[in-house]
Amino acid sequence: MQTRLTINGTSQTHDVAPATLLVELLRDDLGMTGTHIGCDTSQCGACNVLIDGVAMKSCTVLAVQAEGKAITTIEGLANGDTLHPMQAAFREHHGLQCGFCTPGMVIAGLEIVRRRGHDLSAEDIAHDLEGNLCRCTGYMNIIKAIQAGAKAMEAHNA
């Protein structure tokens, strides 16, 4: 089925089978493996992407349902070699260990900023990370990273 969508700013059309999940289109068909798959039950958040600016689990959306939508993946955040402030904050605050959950955590961080603004309490962040699992259990530094990333975004107007 011909599906037209914008991925990280580039408008494109793909012929996808209806049973293709959005995450499968990204990873398998387009080779964009930054978005991860960590579960089969829609619970881990490793697959989070922004759809029209709103975070959703790309493992639980059909690619054909993204018709006409703008998708932002982890690959679309940096500006050339300059990391997005939220990505830079994860590096600065050791917000990752093995890194598997990180793309989904960074997207979840952007979602929290979208809804709550730039001044975030640790409690609010922890609450809003309910849909993201980190098997390395590095939650304390993830929370610090999102808190700092939110502030840095304000400073950078990002």
Partner: protein, 268 residues
């Protein structure tokens, strides 16, 4: 997932027609129940009819003593909408407690009540708020709509278009959430109307149900003290790896007290 045909009709009538012509067809809204079930092959429809392209199925309207929410309205919208918060704060907080932020950005009211999972949250609100479920075929009163585990008054191919809730002077929802899935181990929705109090219980039994004893006690005296010590008979409740029927019966009493206390707090 097994392959299937996919259609995105532009109207409710066209969706119903496509469904009727589709072999083993299924509607898809947010997909947050259906797609996980298809991944595990619990469901294997050969045609998916996507309701997402139908205009007018999402939205919230207050009309005097009623609040109507379109079937395709997401949990996130209900949780943050000013009209919902002003009319039925218990409904806003219920929506804010479903799953996680990403689930709430995608899952819909219509999908929840069509599915009628015995541990889902919305059925408790629909039943306690004496709501009317509007569909492509007509209207169903909440008291007739829910018919036990994953069973409703909907016939094959009937599309939920919206839910009209009665606005009560006071209401609240209290749930003991499963820590991993966020579904209700037990959830209680309490609504106080001039004509009496309605109490709906989700999570505890094979489907949402009203709690007559609690309703009678609270209609006489709307206070947590009036229902202190009240529990549900475990004979009718679920036992699973998360909780025994006895535990759920006791928990229902605790959640009831919390819901009444919250409902008595003045509106913010």
């Amino acid at each position: 997932m097994r392959e299937f045909a996919y259609a995105r009709p532009g109207s409710v009538a066209e969706a119903a027609r496509t469904f009727a012509g589709g072999g083993e067809a299924a509607f898809i809204a947010g997909g947050h129940t259906l797609l996980p079930a298809m991944k595990s092959r619990l469901r294997m429809p050969d045609t998916l009819v996507d309701l997402g392209g139908i205009p007018g199925l999402a939205g919230i309207a207050r009309d005097g003593d009623t609040l109507t929410i379109g079937a395709l309205t997401t949990h996130a919208t209900v949780a943050t909408d000013a009209a919902v918060a002003a009319a039925i704060p218990g409904l806003a907080s219920l929506a804010a407690g479903i799953g996680d932020p990403q689930v709430r950005n995608r899952g819909t009211l219509g999908g929840v009540i069509a599915n009628n999972d015995p541990a889902a949250d919305y059925p408790a609100a629909v039943l306690a708020l004496d709501a009317v479920v509007t569909t492509s075929a007509g209207r169903h009163a909440a008291d007739d709509y829910f018919q036990g585990m994953f069973t409703t008054a909907l016939t094959d191919g009937e599309i939920v278009t919206g839910v009209t809730f009665k606005v009560p002077p006071a209401s609240a929802y209290a749930k003991f959430r499963h820590p991993a899935s966020r579904y209700a181990v037990v959830g209680i929705f309490v609504a106080r109307f001039a004509a009496g109090v309605r109490v709906a219980v989700t999570g505890a039994g094979p489907g949402v149900f009203r709690w007559a004893e609690a309703e009678a006690a609270l209609s006489a005296d709307f206070s947590a003290a009036a229902v202190s010590g009240l529990t549900l008979d475990p004979a009718d409740l679920n036992t699973d790896i998360h909780a025994s029927a006895e535990y759920r019966g006791h928990l229902a009493g605790v959640m009831l007290g919390q819901a009444v206390t919250a409902a008595r707090r003045p509106h913010r």
